[in-house]
């Protein structure tokens, strides 16, 4: 089944390009370390999911590019064309001359309604190219104007027009140090609107990825392109084909649907985070070997101690002993040490993945009391190596990992709101104080729900 990607704003378009590039280069990479037949099935599955074949045989990404300024879209298009391997469809872009000036309300209430028809028509065209549509993957930032405001608007429209298709929003959490003064306002508006219209929010924190670039990739001067490549690697490791079942060599038909069924059935818990292991520069990769036991031990500790990468893990954190109340359940204001999960999905790619032992993730102490590990833990596997890593594991987790940053953002936004700072910038375009209050209520509820796991 196919997924239509919607790239919104500067951030969405830059990331979208890297994602398609990773998907393509991994599919056609010669170092898959598996049989020819298996490799062909892998390629075919990836192609059906993310690319359509044009008449001349060139693959075109199943994507729609939307931005209010032409610069980034033009760059993205030409980068794809230069790759010479895949491209974007001819009529897949929508851009305008004037941006949203980091004002969420402008993206949501002005650009959205004004260009609704054109954007939805482009999406419709991509949908018609799919024999079977699984859903939408919407890439956008959380704190800006166009990506976040227009992104929320488009997601809502998708929900109205394609209620049965799945919607996953990939959102980029802003740097804690802040790029934009109103980023907290924009963030709470984005999150609260997406919580109403999207099925899952896959969150990447700029801070975390930045650290991975510094510590693991050994990059001295980090550009957005570096960050986006790490991010694209993580996304690719989720969505590239895996076996449909234990012992089967067929590819999973509908990974988006399966992922959502595994992780986000509960309407109050929709926030997903991704962790990957190993992550390192290509140079170091050549001199490293890994065992599944070692990788999974680290990955598990990254999960329960809420570490973003395999470096600097706090090994002191232990699951609460059964019979005693979990730390996370104790007090509201107490610092969260142990990261309680609702549900986890581990994806293993590479040599001997079949034989890896995942018992460590099936410990009931890792999960909330109202879900059994049988219900809360799933694993997908493939022997096919991903993106030149002989062995790699990805963990998609619905857990408390974002509750603290969310709490901080909501708190900062509330303080600004209480002194009515910058509110007129929003009311000017039709986002009223009432809308802010609704957003606060909804997110407070989400925070409470996650704290009380």
């Amino acid at each position: 089944m196919s997924i239509v990607t919607v790239q919104l704003g500067q951030c969405g378009n830059q990331i979208g390009f890297e994602v398609f590039d990773v998907l393509f280069s991994d599919s056609y990479c010669s170092q898959g370390l598996c049989s020819k037949k298996e490799n062909e099935a892998y390629q075919a599955s990836c192609k059906e999911r993310f690319f359509s074949e044009e008449e001349n045989g060139v693959l075109a990404a199943r994507a729609v590019l939307v931005d209010m300024e032409p610069k980034v879209i033009n760059q993205t298009l030409s980068k794809a064309a230069q790759s010479g391997r895949w491209k974007y469809g001819q009529h897949a872009c929508f851009c305008q001359k004037q941006g949203s000036g980091n004002n969420w309300a402008y993206g949501y209430s002005v650009h959205g309604p004004r260009h609704e028809e054109s954007i939805m028509n482009l999406i419709q065209k991509q949908v018609e190219k799919c024999d079977s549509l699984s859903g939408f993957f919407i890439i956008m930032s959380m704190a800006g104007g166009t990506g976040s405001g227009l992104g929320a608007f488009v997601t809502q429209n998708l929900q109205d027009q394609y209620p049965n298709s799945l919607k996953m929003n990939q959102i980029i959490w802003p740097y804690g140090t802040g790029e934009v003064i109103v980023q907290n306002y924009n963030s709470i508006l984005t999150l609260s609107h997406l919580y109403r219209s999207s099925d899952a929010l896959l969150v990447h924190e700029n801070d975390a990825i930045h650290k991975i670039c510094v510590k693991r990739m050994n990059i001295k001067q980090i550009s957005f392109s570096n960050i986006n490549q790490v991010l694209a690697h993580q996304l690719g490791s989720i969505f590239q084909p895996t076996y449909s079942a234990e012992g089967s060599f067929h590819c999973r038909r509908n990974p988006l649907g399966d992922l959502m069924e595994d992780l986000v059935p509960h309407p109050e818990f929709k926030m997903l985070g991704v962790r990957n292991i190993p992550q390192m520069s290509e140079n170091s990769l050549a001199y490293s070997t890994f065992t599944w036991a070692g990788l999974l031990k680290h990955l598990r500790q990254m999960l329960i101690s809420n570490a973003k990468m395999e470096e600097g893990i706090n090994w002191q954190v232990r699951p609460p002993l059964s019979g005693l109340p979990a730390l996370g359940k104790m007090s509201f204001n107490k610092e969260l040490h142990f990261n309680t999960s609702i549900a986890n999905l581990v994806i293993l790619r590479g040599k001997d993945a079949q034989s890896a032992d995942l018992a460590g993730f099936k410990d009931p102490a890792l999960y909330t009391s109202w879900l059994e590990p049988d219900n809360a833990f799933n694993v997908w596997k493939t022997q096919r190596a991903f993106n030149k890593y002989e062995k790699s594991a990805a963990l998609v987790s619905n857990s408390q990992f974002l509750v603290k940053p969310l709490d901080v953002i909501v708190g900062k936004a509330w303080n600004m709101f209480a002194s009515k700072a910058y509110i007129h910038q929003y009311t000017k375009f039709g986002i009223e104080e009432e809308d802010f209050l609704d957003s606060f209520t909804l997110l407070e509820q989400v925070i409470t729900s996650y704290y009380n796991l």
Binding site: M1, D131, S132, L133, S134, N164, S165, L166, Y195, R196, S197, D199, N254, G257, M260, E261, V264, P265, H266, P267, E268, T368, S369, W370, L371, N375, T441, L442, Q445
Partner: protein, 428 residues
């Protein structure tokens, strides 16, 4: 069964050996039925006849083909499923529901249950239809035929959880969400299937030897792609022919079977259906349309009674207490009357639609054709869609009503807890 028995009474002097033949025909019709010897043993309640008969009943009652789920179920689960399916169909014998769950005993009861199913409805026809070789692309126009069977078999029964221990509502919400995703997944798959069928039909336009069909179905196209499959298809058709012949044979001989069943019934101790604390069974009505009508009628009646009572109480209260405020009250009264009128009208419409023209029930072969190209036979997609829309509207009306009831109940509960603020759930 009374009807059958009267027929049997008229048949006299059947030749010896007819009974085993009749049972053998029945077994062949059921494709995997046990031997006549098993039936004979079951008459005397021998335990060795029980396991094959449990298997047979499971096959007869499960909504899916046997291979799909039988493998994943333990014998105990199968026994439970058979029992609950029989209960849902309204089978009244207490002795049957008390059979041990290990499936080791009660062959006579099982024989009686099977005969009850046979005597009661078009069981064989349904089973034969279920395993029919399908060459054309088919579309069920109306799911109501599947309903009794679906109701009877709610899937593998889960182990009964201790209802005393509290269930976290979040767990229920989680399961509900899973169900929603699966439902959406199903709809997407269905749409994908329709799109692909349409492609096949367009590409193969003019290929079919049958003028009225004009294009190939998916199965026929597959045969072209893979000629090896033809052999397999031939085998399947031969097998189906055999079963159909067996069914005819059974029709010819079944009276002997019913005669024999009388002796089986005579041999078993009487059952007291009302003894003990067994809950009453809901008799299922073979025609689901009538069942739904009945339901609507009951709901209408209950609603009328409820409304009448409410109106009377209010009227009495008003007249007694607030004579000075008449104009205001009368407006309220009018509004109330209008609301009642509207609701009645909706229900009456639903009723009328239910009793409307007879809708097509059988599955139909999907054929693409130009407007007017087909003679009068068959069913147009527009008609089918119309019928389904009607059904959808009815179901939606019922859903709305039920949701209203739930909301009222929730509001009542919330009102009873003064310290609690009620925030409706977001999303979905």
């Amino acid at each position: 069964m009374g009807r059958r028995r009267r027929w049997v009474g008229q048949v006299a002097g059947t030749r010896a050996g007819a009974l085993p033949e009749a049972i053998a025909a029945l077994s062949r019709t059921l494709s995997a039925g046990p031997s006549p010897e098993t039936f004979r043993r079951a008459k005397f309640d021998f335990p060795e006849a029980a396991p094959p008969l449990w298997r047979l009943l499971f096959y007869v009652l499960s909504p899916l083909s046997e291979d799909d789920i039988a493998a994943s179920l333990t014998p105990e689960a199968r026994v439970r499923l058979v029992k609950s399916a029989m209960r849902a169909q309204g089978y009244p014998r207490l002795a049957f529901s008390r059979l041990p769950e290990d499936g080791s005993q009660g062959s006579r009861e099982l024989l009686l249950a099977l005969s009850w199913l046979l005597a009661r409805g078009p069981l064989l026809e349904r089973l034969l239809a279920r395993t029919r070789v399908r060459l054309g692309d088919e579309m069920p126009v109306c799911e109501c035929e599947d309903l009794p069977c679906g109701r009877a078999s709610p899937g593998p029964p889960t182990l009964c959880k201790d209802t005393e221990g509290c269930v976290d509502v979040r767990h229920v919400q989680w399961l509900m969400g899973k169900l929603r995703f699966r439902w959406r997944n199903l709809i997407c798959s269905h749409q994908a299937q329709c799109a692909l069928l349409s492609k096949i039909h367009e590409y193969t336009l003019g290929c079919h030897s049958d003028q009225s069909l004009n294009h190939l179905s998916a199965a026929e196209t597959e045969l072209l792609r893979d000629p090896e499959g033809g052999q397999q298809l031939l085998q399947m058709l031969e097998f189906e022919n055999m079963r159909l012949e067996a069914a005819l044979e059974w029709r010819r001989l079944e009276q002997v079977f019913w005669q024999w069943m009388d002796t089986v019934l005579g041999a078993c101790p009487p059952d007291f259906p009302h003894a003990g604390s067994q809950s009453t069974f809901l008799p299922s009505i073979p025609d689901p349309g009538a069942g739904e009508l009945d339901l609507v009628a009951r709901e209408l009646q209950a609603l009328q009674v409820e409304l009448r009572e409410a109106v009377e109480v209010r009227r009495a209260a008003w007249e007694a207490q607030v004579r000075g405020l008449r104009p205001e009250r009368s407006a309220e009264m009018r509004a109330l009357k209008e609301a009642v009128g509207r609701e009645l009208a909706t229900l009456q419409q639903a009723w009328e639609r239910e009793g409307g023209p007879v809708r097509p029930h059988r599955p139909h072969r999907l054929v693409r054709s130009e407007a007017g190209a087909l003679p009068g036979q068959g069913l147009w997609a527009a008609e089918a869609i119309g019928a389904l829309r009607n059904k959808e509207a009815c179901l939606e009306a019922v859903l709305c009503w039920l949701q209203g009831q739930c909301q009222q109940e929730l509001a009542r509960l919330a009102g009873a807890l003064p310290g609690v603020i009620w925030i409706p759930p977001h999303g979905r």
